[in-house]
């Protein structure tokens, strides 16, 4: 581009047809939505018009507005940023706002039901309050003393980048929903689940944090229950590599601390000699 040239062509044309070059979608589709409360429920069929670009949440809200005003559903941002509209779509844990109808087979009914690892409240909404209790039990961020007299710190971008992956988490709890330790074995009392292992990893790898959560991880937080089946990683809408980047390093940290006495001694001494 040359300076002073106020006519710049767009980098390329905007596609005018729907993705994948597929034929135009059917004008309406059937959604089997879970209706019920704490004691049970059933799938109720609804048919609603569909149009280009629609996501599952659009269909649910359209049904709510036009056919079932009391249909309970959680949502906020509708842009994949808040993690409110978690549900199971055709049996898979998904954000309703990021699940496009063009990616589903609309010749069959689309089923939508609440996350099943948590107690049901009503319809598509489950009680996720357990997660908020768990978080409170994790040792909070504890920074080293400031680096500069004005109370600020100096950090390298590379050190910040290392934990940003974990801090992207939108707390949709889909990883908790799919984790078999919670879903099948209901070990909510002894295992904090992948979301909070990611949270712990973000704190442990935070460039400024000096707290030690290793003993908690081993005991109260039950990291040993995770047998790295990676289901959590596969459902994360933020594409956080939960198992490989967060859980496995934490497991190694626990092993180093508790099952490697020589390494542990070395660590203790090196920590003493090198103030952080």
């Amino acid at each position: 581009m040359t300076p002073n040239n106020a006519t710049t062509a767009p980098a390329s044309a905007v596609p005018s047809s729907p993705p994948g070059g597929s034929a135009s979608p059917p004008a309406q589709a059937r959604f089997d939505l879970w209706r019920g409360g704490a004691t049970g429920g059933r799938f109720v069929p609804y048919t609603t018009p569909v149009s280009e670009g629609m996501v599952v949440l659009d269909a649910v809200l359209q049904i709510q507005a036009e056919q079932a005003n009391d249909l309970a559903a959680r949502w906020n941002c509708k842009a994949g940023k808040c993690g409110s509209c978690s549900a199971e779509v055709n049996g898979k844990p998904r954000l309703m706002c990021m699940t496009r109808l063009s990616d589903l087979d609309l010749t069959k009914p689309v089923t939508v039901e609440p996350m099943r690892s948590f107690p049901p409240i009503k319809d598509l909404v489950s009680d996720v309050s357990w997660n908020f209790h768990v978080k409170k039990g994790i040792r909070p961020f504890t920074p080293r003393p400031p680096d500069a007299p004005d109370g600020t710190w100096r950090m390298a971008q590379a050190d910040v980048d290392r934990v940003q992956e974990f801090r992207k988490c939108i707390e949709c709890f889909l990883c908790q929903d799919v984790c078999h330790v919670l879903r099948e074995h209901h070990d909510h009392d002894v295992f904090i689940g992948p979301r909070f292992l990611v949270y712990t990893a973000a704190l442990e790898m935070h460039p400024l944090d000096v707290a030690d959560r290793t003993a908690d991880l081993r005991k109260a937080h039950g990291i040993g229950y995770c047998n790295i089946t990676k289901c959590c990683t596969s459902v994360c809408p933020e594409h956080i590599t939960i198992t490989d980047n967060a859980i496995i390093p934490l497991k190694e940290q626990v092993v180093d601390a508790f099952y490697d006495p020589i390494g542990r001694l070395v660590k203790i001494f090196s920590r003493r000699s090198a103030p952080r």
């Binding site: 581009m1 300076p3 002073n4 106020a6 006519t7 710049t8 767009p10 980098a11 390329s12 044309a13 905007v14 005018s16 729907p18 149009s51 280009e52 670009g53 629609m54 996501v55 659009d58 709510q64 507005a65 036009e66 079932a68 005003n69 009391d70 249909l71 309970a72 559903a73 959680r74 949502w75 906020n76 941002c77 509708k78 842009a79 994949g80 808040c82 993690g83 409110s84 990021m98 496009r100 409240i121 319809d123 909404v125 908020f132 978080k135 409170k136 909070p140 961020f141 109370g151 600020t152 100096r154 950090m155 390298a156 971008q157 910040v160 934990v163 940003q164 704190l203 935070h206 460039p207």
Partner: protein, 607 residues
């Protein structure tokens, strides 16, 4: 009085976005008991969607920056209708509030020497926004949330306040309902802080979620507080427009801060065509200079894409109206072009704008590193709101405080991008501090049992209407009609005839709302919730419309095609809305107090 779930706190905070959380932390730090009520789950409030950054004159990137420049920028952006005391405090205190976040664990992007990095944004003279890629809001709300949960604050999630309660002239608490079971909860409090955010859902196309129904504004109005500047609704220039289901979702100004340009269908960079006089000295003459500015050249001036949001939105509307829009009725926003200037541009874009990349890829099948985005204006932010004291954030009702978007004053006629997150922090803290101070010297309030029972009964009326079979009107239908009417008649381009029609529609909808009916029971019932929301929305929509009619000029976010110029007299007052003795809405004009000489001098120096 009927039986209610009850709770008692020194300070009750309504809303748990950035302002509510920051207020809760401040109040808890002052060792008073704190209750925090939020309409959604903790951490889901709209702050989570903020993208660009937090404006604070840290001067980490450009050492010419300081509070005086930030103050002058904010006043210029607000067309001098701002509460100058708030603009002063905001500019002075924002840097400390940002550093505090870092002490609580926030991780901002860094400069080469390891300090907090700052980026360019519209209307800010120097790079000023502390940021984390384009997900700054998430970093901020999570930091505040994770800090607050260890302070002994009682949090009531998915709980909606339906009425404020008073003891004589002072606030005494609130009545709320808990969504899961539909039960009422009676909160007694010596001080109440409203931090409920904005009103975006009064319009059809908006970046706001279902929550933004103006609750705090309507609650305060009903409690006798004054609202000001209600005509100033910010339409963000760049929302997604295609496909239809994503219409309105925000595209951060950060795209333009990183070098993104706006083009019409002819490929013309139309923002160079109309540069307002008061920004001419600060705006680049040509594309080359604009590009150098985005790349940190301190001798360059900013490209016209980074003019204030009101102006950019109007330029986009002009292009579309005059037939030069994009295929789906917007314009093109192109960041992909920077590959002609930067090596590894695609990686750079993904790094600086990750959630934009993700959003367009997943929702619109657009790869923004290769293709331009189609964008158009979307209702984004409410500059107006509850009139507060600049120092304490107390409203005109004793013991009732407000902070963040629900409060007015800082932004005047138009808010600069990035000034919202800093607003939440600076005035959230101040509201929490002063509410705690107020509560610690106030006597325990008495609740009026009749007022409580009346509020509860009114909240249940939609069920009675449903049972009686008289009203078959769905609350969603009323909401949709309200949104369509405000969008079409009180939008970016306004005139008296349209707005008078809008008042007629609102009056009809008000009558219908009395007969709104909901199905089902009280447990987690969105129909019932919407029936309660529309009461607030109708008040807010009327306040916006009446104020916009009253301001017979174009200034900031208000553009009147019947009065396209600025009127000198209109720069001297704010329009005040309050509930009259008869229950009807009353408007008045409140003169803006003169600037103290030292602030006037700052503005003069920065011209």
């Amino acid at each position: 009085m009927a039986e209610y779930e009850r709770s008692q706190h020194d300070v009750l905070i309504v809303g748990a976005g950035g302002a509510g959380l920051r207020a809760a932390i401040a109040a808890a730090d002052a060792k008073v008991s704190v209750g925090l009520v939020c309409k959604s789950l903790l951490g889901k409030a709209h702050t989570v969607m903020a993208e660009g950054g937090i404006a604070a004159a840290l001067a980490n990137v450009d050492d010419r920056d300081n509070w005086r420049v930030h103050f002058a920028d904010t006043m210029r952006g607000g067309q001098y209708l701002n509460n100058w005391r708030m603009a002063e405090l905001h500019a002075k205190e924002a840097p400390d509030r940002v550093k505090e976040l870092e002490a609580w664990g926030a991780l901002f992007d860094r400069t080469a020497d390891g300090r907090i990095l700052q980026r360019n944004f519209g209307g800010h003279k120097y790079p000023r926004l502390a940021h984390v890629g384009d997900r700054t809001g998430l970093e901020m709300i999570r930091t505040l949330q994770d800090h607050a949960i260890h302070l002994g604050i009682d949090v009531f999630m998915e709980c909606t306040v339906i009425a404020l309660l008073k003891d004589g002239d002072r606030v005494a608490g609130a009545l709320s309902y808990e969504r899961d079971r539909g039960r009422f909860r009676l909160h007694t409090a010596k001080a109440v802080v409203l931090a409920t955010g904005g009103i975006g859902k009064a319009f059809k196309i908006t970046s706001n979620s279902w929550e933004y129904t103006g609750d705090g504004l309507a609650l305060a109005y009903d409690a006798g507080a004054e609202l000001i500047d209600m005509e100033f609704v910010q339409f963000h220039p760049t929302g997604m427009i295609w496909p239809p289901s994503v219409r309105g979702i925000l595209v951060t100004e950060g795209v333009r801060g990183e070098g993104g340009i706006l083009l019409n269908r002819e490929g013309r960079r139309f923002m160079f065509d109309d540069i307002p006089e008061n920004y001419r000295n600060q705006t680049a003459d040509n594309e080359e200079e604009g590009w150098r500015y985005t790349q940190g050249d301190k001798s360059a001036r900013r490209p016209p894409e980074l003019l204030t949001r009101d102006h950019v939105a109007r330029c986009i509307v002009r292009e579309v109206r005059e037939g030069r829009g994009s295929p789906h009725g917007g314009v093109f926003l192109d960041i992909a072009w920077i590959k002609r200037r930067l090596p590894n541009a695609a990686e750079h874009i993904k790094k600086k704008l990750p959630s934009m990349y993700h959003q367009f890829k997943e929702l619109a099948d657009i790869d923004i590193t290769e293709q331009p985005m189609e964008v158009g204006p979307t209702t984004h932010y409410m500059m107006g709101g509850i009139r507060v004291d600049g120092d304490t954030q107390m409203s005109t009702v004793l013991g009732l405080f407000a902070a963040g978007e629900v409060a007015a004053g800082l932004h005047g006629a138009n808010r600069l991008g990035g000034n919202s997150l800093s607003d939440l922090l600076v005035f959230g803290k101040r509201a929490g501090d002063y509410a705690a101070k107020f509560a610690s010297t106030a006597a325990a309030p008495r609740l009026d049992p009749t007022a409580v029972d009346t509020a509860a009964r009114q909240a249940l009326e939609p069920f009675a209407a449903s049972a009686s079979g008289n009203g078959a009107i769905s609350p969603f239908q009323i909401q949709h009609e309200l949104q369509a009417s405000m969008q079409d008649l009180v939008g970016i381009v306004r005139n008296e005839a349209d707005m008078t029609r809008a008042l007629g529609t609102l009056s009809q909808l008000n009558a219908q709302a009395a007969h709104v009916a909901v199905s089902g029971n009280r447990e987690f019932n969105p129909g019932w919730h919407t029936a309660l929301d529309i009461r607030h929305q109708l008040i807010v929509a009327e306040a916006v419309t009446r104020s916009a009619i009253e301001r017979k000029e174009s200034r900031g976010a208000q553009f009147r095609e019947d009065f396209p110029e600025k009127g000198a007299d209109y720069g001297r007052f704010n329009i005040v809305v309050r509930k009259g003795a008869s229950g009807a809405m009353e408007l008045s004009r409140r003169p803006i107090p003169p600037l103290p000489p030292e602030l006037a001098q700052v503005i003069e120096e920065m011209k």
